[in-house]
Amino acid sequence: MSDENETSILDILTKVNDNTWEVPGNYKPGMNVPGRIFVSKPLLDILEPETIDQVANVASLPGIQKYSMAMPDAHLGYGFSIGGVAAFDKEKGVISPGGVGFDINCGVRLIRSNLMEDDVRPRLADLLDSLFEAIPSGVGSKSRMRLTDEELDDVFIHGVNWAVKNGYGMKGDLSHCESNGMMPGADPSKVSIKARKRGRPQIGTLGSGNHFLEVQYVDKVYDEEAAKAFGLKEGQITFMIHCGSRGAGHQICTDHLQKLTQASKKYKIPLPDKQLACAPASSEEAQDYFKAMVCAANYAWVNRQMIMHWAREVFDEFFKAQHGDLGLDLVYDVAHNVAKLEKHMIDGEEKEVYVHRKGATRAFPAGHPEIPEDYKNIGQPVIIPGSMGTASYVLKGCPAAMELTFGSACHGAGRVMSRSSAKKELRGEEIQNELKSQGIIVRATQPSLIAEEAPEVYKSSSDVVDVVHNLGIATKVARVLPMGVVKG
């Protein structure tokens, strides 16, 4: 970033503390609240100025509470910035698909094991081949199953409950998913035939882009007590799944974005960006979107559940283990593109608000009723995937998140280089070889896909995680390092 840009960003923002920068409420006309960008100075230096405009745009939506926020991995998105968090009053606020994104409930889950690094390292390449074969990935890939219309309704309404009931998982998986893998209030009648057509054949597929299944090991524990509660210890093998609601979610967002574009006109809501189309939270249009969004969110949890189930089967078969012997338990599953009705303290009063998290992870502290019994005294596991080839982190949600960010933290590393530049400047084969020399094996349908997700195109995940740690929003529990990646 040039000096010129840096100066202009610092001209706009007011420093609150080392990791908090305010976008003043008068930066753009129509802002109802100021903006808050949670970044360190080095991350601020690489922030695109347009991201600040997007934070300001969101601040102008009706009924927004406290601040329009951006997490430390913030970068340019559409509508909301990626890393954007905003809460809207249940009565006077709005619901906007632009605050959720097309990949509804894109998210990540972490699975632990009782295998150690030495058990896996010598046979890693073969293990990855088996995983790559078992988990459909890439554009145009087909699922191993095709849902009937009735099954699709069940998935939309019951989420992971459907999967567990049908033998794709264990009972313990449920409480270790955010919202127990099933947000209430789904209404499949608000899902179009088009979205159903896209959803039926894709359940249990990774998709493409930055989605992945990664085999990892725990290389560092920062917080012994929390790591013990989460079942993590140094040297242990874990695996991580990152994907979302596939075509079903994309189509649900597309369909309702059109309806809400018209609704914005009907309710005379001025939009600084058409992608921020929205309607009053209690209106039929907003509620219809919300009910369909819940369907997509539940679909995404099942998608990750199916992939986990098939990966568990691969592990069991590969290590010739009986079901359950390898201790392949779900640590936790977090959503990072979703809107939820939650209770938060605002000006000393508990209020119900629609919290929109677009590229942000919920980070509830110890004692929150939404946290499963076995983590109740610790805090919610906050799982932050790194980019391909770099560290991922497990954190725990802390009380400051409730005060500062409506119980939210970052969601990943955050891009700094475009896909097209990455492909121009980086060769997939070279990156694959370089990662191999570091002991990291990558399987992808083709090399150019590796270039566009290369470690260089992302901010450092440790810089991003340090900000939420230092702010006390979510503190570090463990770091996991990649060994092998199946790329979508």
């Binding site: 998105g77 890439g138 554009v139 574009t261 058409k274 992608q275 475009s418």
Partner: protein, 145 residues
């Protein structure tokens, strides 16, 4: 206009400009710009065709619907497209209702032949522009990848 379309810098997604002497041609090139993100359109045998008819509430929404519809057909009919013909776009006087008639030409996806690149998840309204100048039409659109 020398080029049909070009890609602009965008950190997370794909933004492009598509040009045309007519609005129909600009819509055709916008479709090709989006399709080329996923698969090389030049290498496709255009042996099958699919007709598309759309009606939307203004020109921006017509473009959004057009790009969205192509993604839908690509995924559900499992087809890739190498040629796009927009036969007619009608815009009523107040830009309050627009319609489009088009045909997509291509073939059924064969993963042993077609090499896929980045998946386009969806069309967006982000910084969308449809502008007429003396030379013709320019479309700017951003798709989510």
């Amino acid at each position: 206009m020398d080029i049909d379309y070009e890609y602009l810098e965008h950190t997370a997604d794909v933004r492009f400009r598509a040009y045309g002497k007519t609005l129909e041609q600009a819509f055709e090139n916008a479709a090709l710009a989006m399709l080329n993100v996923m698969v090389e359109t030049d290498s496709i045998n255009n042996t099958l065709s699919i007709d598309i008819e759309l009606t939307s509430f203004d020109l921006d929404s017509l473009l959004f619907d057009w790009l969205s519809e192509i993604l839908f057909v690509f995924e559900v009919d499992e087809m890739v497209f190498g040629r796009v013909e927009v036969n007619k776009i009608t815009v009523d006087g107040d830009d309050e209702q627009c319609s489009l008639e088009a045909t997509l030409y291509g073939e059924t996806i064969d993963l042993s032949v077609h090499v896929f690149d980045t998946e386009v998840k969806a069309a967006t309204y982000n910084d969308m522009r449809i502008e007429k100048s003396d030379d013709g039409w320019t479309i700017q659109a951003t798709v989510d990848t």
